[in-house]
Symmetry: none
Subunit: 218 residues, 4 copies
DNA sequence: GATGAATGAGTGTTCATTCAT
DNA sequence: CATGAATGAACACTCATTCAT
């Protein structure tokens, strides 16, 4: 029963079977045979749609990352308030979206991270994604904070988001999204509060720049 | 060249070879044959000292975790200042100890996390370790903060530490320990600063308890 | 050279290679690699058709047992005489059929028996087969003998058949089918001869029943 | 704690551990390590007392066979009646002695038979034992039967004894010694009864000789 | 487009054997 | 005598991949 236009359907079918397989047995034991069985297709078809197993895994990660970005994008579009705080909240919430805190997604992320340490193509994907979070956060903080502090705040908030996600994923219990979001909000607010004491003048506020501009310490 | 009393030497030798192998090719591709070759011993010896591959991996993780705990313990012992802030700094620094931010350790941690999602024994090890960090932090925050805030601060700082570590590990660049420590210190200080506005009286300070005690909002 | 519909061909091919391997080196040393080599296929194909080595061995035993049953069935079908004696002769002859007294079959049976002591699935197969011989014999003896004597005759003849087969197999020499059949016939006839002195009335003929019916010895 | 005169003790200790191991996991899985553990000694000692594993197994079989012969010998010594029937009963009973119908012995016999098909030294041991039973039976039958009939009776009774033993061993249930002995006795008596119709004159009684002497059938 | 037969290298693991202590 | 450390080949089994149909 060969059909035309099956490509996107089959691809989606196989990606979802991959997530299911990783959820059940982990990436290491998610064999082509298991994935094909879960998808209800033959082994051979995978190489037809995704060159090889790595291709399928990369596509699966791309799918999850796309879900993440979509979650943020959709929330941003629904936004009426254009304040930095509103935008930051959107980013935080998007990172704890239901699409990211379910079993298959969490297990796949962890496996992906481990693999990215040894597979250049996955590592590239990983860096892009990591940078996007930092960049989005930094961009918003920058609207109210001097560059140095915006960067530090963005680094901190990105790490806090990832850390909350990580500890939630590893706990084995259901993910407590509310608690995670609350902690992230608080950090965001503490950073935003600096705007009232610092201004946005970069040079005055950046201790490293001052130090570098005055190497003699005079 | 069989000798008696080789057990501790061989075990250490094999654990180090495992770290080396994981560093080079990842846990998934760290075969018994590769580890044995790196250790300069035969394949068969591994089952002699560690029942099977899982035993070796569990022992390797135990070794890394022990290094982490030792790093904190040693710093704490060298402490002259008994303040919560000093203790918290020790915990933060210990978590970014050189033994934890090198390639082999970082790759092993990531692989361990991914595996712990599907191996009950590793998961148990993982939960113990996660809880230790939280518990240590909470214990110190509790000395100056009401319980609710101490818990929240501990959860936040634990997540921030893990997140900073994670993003540093995944970056692929050399780990910027100073930057990580600085961001963690700042979070710690922001949380400790609450002690001047909150006191340590639990019930007054806990918003959830207040809300519950006053459900009608009167 | 992958083809469709190869399953029955390959299965038969592999079963015959297994018999050949057992004949050459014994079941203990009949490795997957050897069997595959004898069959002229790759190692991996075995798990494709028979889950694992046990599956192949069970299938091989099933094949031999089927040959045995077929041997009896075919002889029975060719029968014009419906007497118990004729049927018993058929069973005896079937058990010394050429398919059962050749090297591969004899060695496989012996190995199977030894294995059946520790493998529940093989043991079940073994019991079914053992019971079939007894049951078939008993059924025929029952037509002319009281139940108690029919059972005893069937037990004896089954044991004699198996014992003749066993000693023939272990001797190392070519199997002397004629001698074995002659001895079994004689036992059969000695048992059948009882019909003229006993009748077929169960209760009168069964010494155990008589004893039980008359416990006081009156 | 090296002692003198340990040899026979250690050998016996290891043979019993071998029987225990075969009973528990079968000969195929009875590793040196397991046997040594069951005996409470080190792996290496086995090669000290029995060249290698085959040596241990051969010694174990020799031990069981010796038990069998001892069982017959002891019963014969206790005999007051010197009749052929009494001697035959002794042989039958000895073959169903408690030392031969327990789990370890039955499993070891079966494994031994299977191995004897491919190991010349075990095969030799096996033939000697098989022949001894036949020879003992034949010797007694010969006292009252012509040679041809004595041989046939001995072959039949040997087969019946082995077959009863085999089916009992394979059944998985407790061995019903009484039933087996009863069936064997009956066969023995049926054969002995021929003495009243045949006499002991070989030539008159042997149908094959008669046939050969009279090839024309006149 | 889709199947599943077939491959063969690679895996973890077991194990009899050796031998320095 | 006795130990147990060490070896390394052999094992069953898995798996991504290929390809004729």
């Amino acid at each position: 029963m060969p059909k035309v236009g099956m490509q996107p359907i089959r691809r989606q079918q196989l990606i979802e079977a991959t997530l299911q397989a990783v959820d059940q047995v982990g990436l290491g034991d998610a064999s082509i045979a298991l994935i094909a069985r879960l998808a209800g297709v033959s082994n051979g078809i995978i190489s037809h749609y995704f060159r090889d197993k790595n291709g399928l895994i990369a596509a699966t990660m791309g799918y999850i990352m796309n879900m993440l970005n979509e979650g943020v994008r959709a929330r941003r579009q629904a936004l009426t308030d254009d304040s930095p705080r509103a935008h930051l909240k959107v980013i935080i919430e998007g990172n704890f979206d239901a699409s990211q805190v379910n079993g298959p997604a969490m297990k796949t992320w962890l496996a992906f991270w481990a693999s990215s340490m040894h597979q250049p193509d996955l590592h590239r994907l990983q860096r892009i994604n990591d940078h996007r979070l930092y960049s989005n956060l930094c961009c918003q903080f920058r609207r109210v904070l001097p560059l140095y502090h915006a960067r530090k705040a963005a680094r901190g908030l990105a790490a806090l988001i990832d850390g909350l996600w990580l500890r939630g994923a590893l706990s084995g219990d259901a993910f407590d999204t509310d608690q995670a979001v609350r902690i992230a909000y608080e950090y965001m607010d503490l950073q935003l509060a600096k705007q009232h004491t610092l201004g946005t003048d970069d040079q005055a506020a950046d201790p490293t720049r001052t130090a570098l501009a005055n190497p003699a310490g005079a």
